[in-house]
């Protein structure tokens, strides 16, 4: 029998958005080639640093303001995905990775090219890659199921019928605004949760995985590599930050779930999987092997 400590858990966040596509126009004057920055009309709060967006020209023209070096195929296209950094004036820089976008350095931004004519575009927030929430110190996830009373006349005991499932919870993390903790991919900063709570146009939706157990990192594949986690979509209902001189700055966020709540597991099989096809298979087993054969009935 084992006792697990919180050190086995972590939270993985996936950015999400309720916003529909936004259409706008990139004018020649909106593109600043030397600063690798461009802009289009959008409301404050629609885009955040680190968001992955899809830009698509609505008239089928190439997105000529992005240099060919900024495309995977090294040629202009009419649509593409990038990570963005938004400055305080609404200027946008494009990046090829999340951590570069959050850092926001001009030198790492995608190179832009000046354009001669307007390019009508539509912008959609994509955000499909989950990231570990940096410096998370605590999380809690509660699930509850409503029960409907179906007791009828003549019954001696109350009868209940299971109804809807809902979830809620909260997490806490040390506040930071740049990802400094990386394990598998670049980490999500806790500041994003504060931004989530006050987003007006695109909502406060996010996807998350709450790991009860993560695999070991020593490379051996045993049952200690099993992973067990809750997977949810949630909406941040409350976020706060405490700030005092004698303690580390910590944020907390409450959320409710929306949609299904899944408790998933990825287990490592205890035995090797044998290929099953029409070929002849020669079995060789010594005393220490653990090859299992199924009886033919």
């Amino acid at each position: 029998m084992s006792v697990y400590l919180g050190s086995y858990g972590l939270v993985e966040l996936r950015r999400s958005s309720d916003a529909a596509e936004k259409t706008s126009v990139v004018n020649p004057g909106d593109v600043n080639v030397s600063r690798r920055r461009f802009s289009f009309d959008f409301e404050s709060g629609f885009l955040h640093n680190g968001d992955q967006i899809e830009i698509r020209s609505t008239n089928g023209a190439d997105l000529a303001f992005v240099d060919t070096s900024g495309w995977i195929v090294n040629a202009l296209q009419s649509a593409g995905h990038w990570y963005i950094n938004v400055d305080e004036l609404g200027g946008i820089r494009l990046y090829d990775t999340f951590d570069k976008a959050v850092e926001g350095l001009q030198s790492q931004a995608i190179v832009l090219t000046s354009i001669a004519t307007d390019i009508p575009i539509s912008v959609r927030i994509v955000n499909i890659i989950p990231r570990i929430l940096a410096q998370c110190t605590y999380f809690e996830l509660n699930t509850s199921r409503e029960a409907v009373d179906i007791t009828a006349l003549g019954d001696e005991f109350r009868s209940q019928y299971s109804s809807l499932i809902s979830g809620s919870g909260n997490f806490r993390a040390y506040w930071e605004y740049l990802p400094s903790y990386a394990k598998q991919t670049a980490a999500e900063s806790a500041n994003y949760l504060l931004q989530l709570a006050i987003r007006t146009e695109v909502g406060s939706k996010f996807g998350a995985k709450f790991y009860l157990k993560v695999g070991s990192e020593d490379g051996t594949k045993t049952t200690i590599d099993d992973e067990i986690w809750y997977e949810i979509d949630g909406i941040v209902t409350q976020a706060g930050v405490n700030f005092s001189p004698d303690s580390a700055v910590e944020i907390s966020a409450d959320f409710v779930t929306t949609g299904p709540i899944r408790l998933l597991a990825k287990t490592v099989p205890s035995d090797k999987v044998l290929q099953e096809n029409a070929d002849d298979i020669r079995l060789e087993q010594d005393a220490s092997a653990s090859l299992l054969q199924e009886d033919i009935v």
Binding site: V148, T151, A152, L153, G154, D155, L164
Partner: protein, 141 residues
């Protein structure tokens, strides 16, 4: 022996069949009073007029293991494509039982209103109202 009656003792029968998943029933008995006060009287006087009986019941929309749906049976007396005729009466018995002793009110009635709805997080139930016609068949409350 003292006895307090509760919902555990309640039953609703359609004919001789006990309906399942009934969550409530009510019975309203009324008597019209005809005034016969005359000049010189100091108090109003009445003589009894016509009695009437009505009530309501609520049932879960529930399919039993034998595929019967009691709520549906009652709903179909009113929710139907053809008109209601005099043959569409039902015999309802409103019962309070105490072991082997039943306190029944049985009446012949028309279903006069029926409602059913579905809402998130709740079970589907039907509410019916009925209007008795004729005298009570049994009355030993």
């Amino acid at each position: 022996m003292a006895k307090v009656y509760t919902g555990r003792d309640g039953r609703l029968l359609l004919g001789s069949n006990i309906l399942v998943k009934v969550t409530s029933w009510t019975l309203q008995a009324d008597l019209e009073t005809l005034e016969c006060t005359t000049l010189g009287d100091s108090q109003r006087n009445y003589v009894p007029g016509v009695q009437s009986f009505s009530g309501s019941a609520a049932l879960l929309y529930y399919v039993d293991s034998d595929n019967t749906n009691d709520a549906s049976t009652l709903l179909q007396k009113l929710v139907r494509t053809s008109g209601v005729t005099t043959s569409d009466t039902v015999s309802l018995t409103l019962r309070l039982t105490n072991g082997g002793t039943n306190n029944d009110v049985t009446l012949t009635a028309y279903i006069t209103s029926a409602s059913i709805g579905a809402s998130v997080g709740e079970v589907v139930s039907a509410q019916i109202s009925f209007q008795g016609t004729g005298a009570l068949t049994t009355a030993n409350l």
